[in-house]
């Protein structure tokens, strides 16, 4: 996984509550057996005027000019500002793959759905939860300031805004550490292989019916 220490970018505001993973990446694109290439279909139904198909080139498709991602001032944005319960719905990691592939490395919202939140950390995307009033303020500032950008410093757990503004944020130590160092989760867990084996042995004693071939 790509390490995350600092990230600076233009902010794109998505002013909707309950943005679900079906909206982030519609189902027809889940048929891919790859991890990459989802960025062009991020928010497909909102972004394009036609109906998207998997494996289709998107450069010639008619764009919905009203959708924020298509507005010139937000091109190249890598920070998504969102509303409550972002990422609700299915567990599809494709939603995070699509955001990351598009270039979004940070999502700021008042709240996130649990599975989506978790999936972000597995893919080098930092989800930041801020108080609702603060997010309201950011929406006003972003909307009112073309080119509005933020700098996110994971080490210091701070967002740096225009005019020297500092917004601290919370992130649990475990996820922060993994993200800062771009660690491989599986390798980390396998360091405890002995403990897993020991647990498994006592579980087999206590609940042998959970292991096939005991009947």
């Amino acid at each position: 996984m790509e390490a995350f220490t600092e990230f600076e970018s233009v902010v794109v505001p998505l002013d909707r509550v309950n943005v679900d993973t079906d909206a982030i990446i519609p189902k027809q694109f889940l048929k891919s057996i790859k991890r990459s290439g989802f960025g062009k279909n991020l928010f497909d139904e909102w972004r394009y005027l036609d109906i998207g198909e998997p494996d289709q080139a998107c450069s010639g498709r008619p764009l919905n000019r009203d959708f924020v991602l298509n507005q010139p001032r937000y091109q190249g944005a890598g920070i998504l500002l969102a509303r409550d319960n972002f990422g609700c719905g299915s567990s599809r990691e494709h939603a995070v793959w699509a955001l990351a592939d598009y270039g979004i490395r940070v999502v700021i919202a008042p709240s996130f759905a649990d599975i989506f939140f978790n999936n972000c950390f597995k893919n080098g995307v930092l989800p930041i939860m801020l108080a609702g009033a603060l997010v309201d303020e950011l929406f006003i500032e972003v909307n009112g300031t073309p080119g509005y950008g933020l700098k996110v410093d994971l080490r210091a757990r701070q967002i740096l805004g225009p005019g020297g503004r500092i917004i601290p944020f919370d992130v649990d130590d475990h996820n922060r550490h993994r993200l800062l160092h771009g660690l491989d989760d599986i390798a980390l867990t396998l360091e405890h292989a002995e403990e897993i084996r020991a647990y498994e042995a006592q579980r087999r004693d206590r609940a042998p019916w959970l292991f096939r071939g005991v009947n």
Binding site: R16, V17, N18, D20, D22, A23, P26, K27, Q28, L30, K31, S32, I33, K34, R35, E45, I51, D55, R83, D84, N85, C88, G89, S90, S91, R92, E93, V96, S111, A113, D114, I115, N118, N119, K122, N123, D172, D173, H174, D185, I186, T189, L190, H192, A193, E195, I196, Y199, E200, R203, R206, A207, P208, W209, L210, F211, R212, G213, V214, N215
Partner: protein, 467 residues
Amino acid sequence: MAARTLYDKLWDDHVVRDAGDGTALLYIDRHLLHEVTSPQAFEGLRMAGRSPWRLDANLAVADHNVPTLGLEHGITDPVSRVQVETLDQNCADFGIEEFRMGDPRQGIVHVIGPEQGATLPGMTVVCGDSHTSTHGAFGALAYGIGTSEVEHVLATQCLQQKKARNLLIQVDGVLAAGVSAKDLALAVIAKIGTAGGTGCAIEFGGEAVRGLSMEGRMTLCNMAIEAGARVGLVAVDDVTLGYLAGRPFSPVGEQWDRAVTAWSELHSDPEAQFDRVVKLDGGAVAPQVSWGTSPELVVAVTDRVPDPAAEPDPSRSEAMQRALDYMGLKAGTPIVEIAPDIVFIGSCTNSRIEDLRAAAEIVRGRQVAPGIKQALVVPGSGLIKRQAESEGLDRLFMDAGFEWRSPGCSMCLAMNEDPLEPGQRCASTSNRNFEGRQGVGGRTHLVSPAMAAAAAIAGHFVDSREF
């Protein structure tokens, strides 16, 4: 020991290693796989040169892309076909048990786990699918995971987890005749909202929940995720044991007796403290119909489509208006005046035998209304399909004008050939009414099987209590 909730007990029982920073490494007893969220996980394993930690903990099935018609021709969409073939190949390569297309045990992953007894009380059950919460109906700690975690479970039989808070939803009283677990699930979401359970494990308790069959409890836990909670739970009791006895993966003989003794602990202690308790009067729950594009946008069938202008929160009001525009509905319209084009009875929420019986009872001797363009019944598994046919339910449905299909996810998310067309309105027993969920531009109303069947007959929503 201090009094613990059911969730606390399940958690404590699976901690391999407490990291001391609020997270723990949890052991996973059962891992269910399907074709959509597993290919990248297997690819990851291969790239790292790793192999599965414990094969017999895994069980795989293809469901999302499976056609529900003309199975003998296989999957015609080449992209869908590759995904299912990839699962077949991965399971064959790594030695994982899979119920393939054409196997009578094949079906929706959350239906076949319990049906086989592969979901047992006291287990941790995970799957790359958010509706894994379904399995919590058995007093198992079950939750959906992303693909990276699928790979992690395959490689280590563990997951790094942060403990959730305890939320008790207590439903007292008795559900009225014609009101089902689905109506209860929707009423709960209406009350606490789609983010109401975020960060929580929900335990459903109270007289109305105790009174539900296993099918009903699965429906309720299935939709815990729509209330924002990864985990839904119901304590183990005789109903649980009655369902599990004699299932293919269930223990037998002395093992069964030992298991039953262990499972008798799987309830919250009477003095256990929950972080939050929400109470509902089960007797007051009416049949529900969703009118918007989020499961919390739901009202009783006797109500009208709400008015966004009456919502004080501007962001919510705007979301309501956007939902109305998408759904092609006007504020103030009585729900019973809404006429669906399509009726879909199926999905991991409502495709079990009891759901089909409830719907069949309503359609018996009646005809699908002329305004309904298509009415589909998609059983949750091949075994349910057989059972229904042995009871003659297939004839009841077909005589009434329904189509009787083969098992799979089908129109719940329409990755197969069963999507809604743009603008079509569907009375659906599935769990999500998001924009485009059942097909681009499709409009979903979430209802119970009885409500869907009644709408098919009447040609518009009607109160299943009076039908």
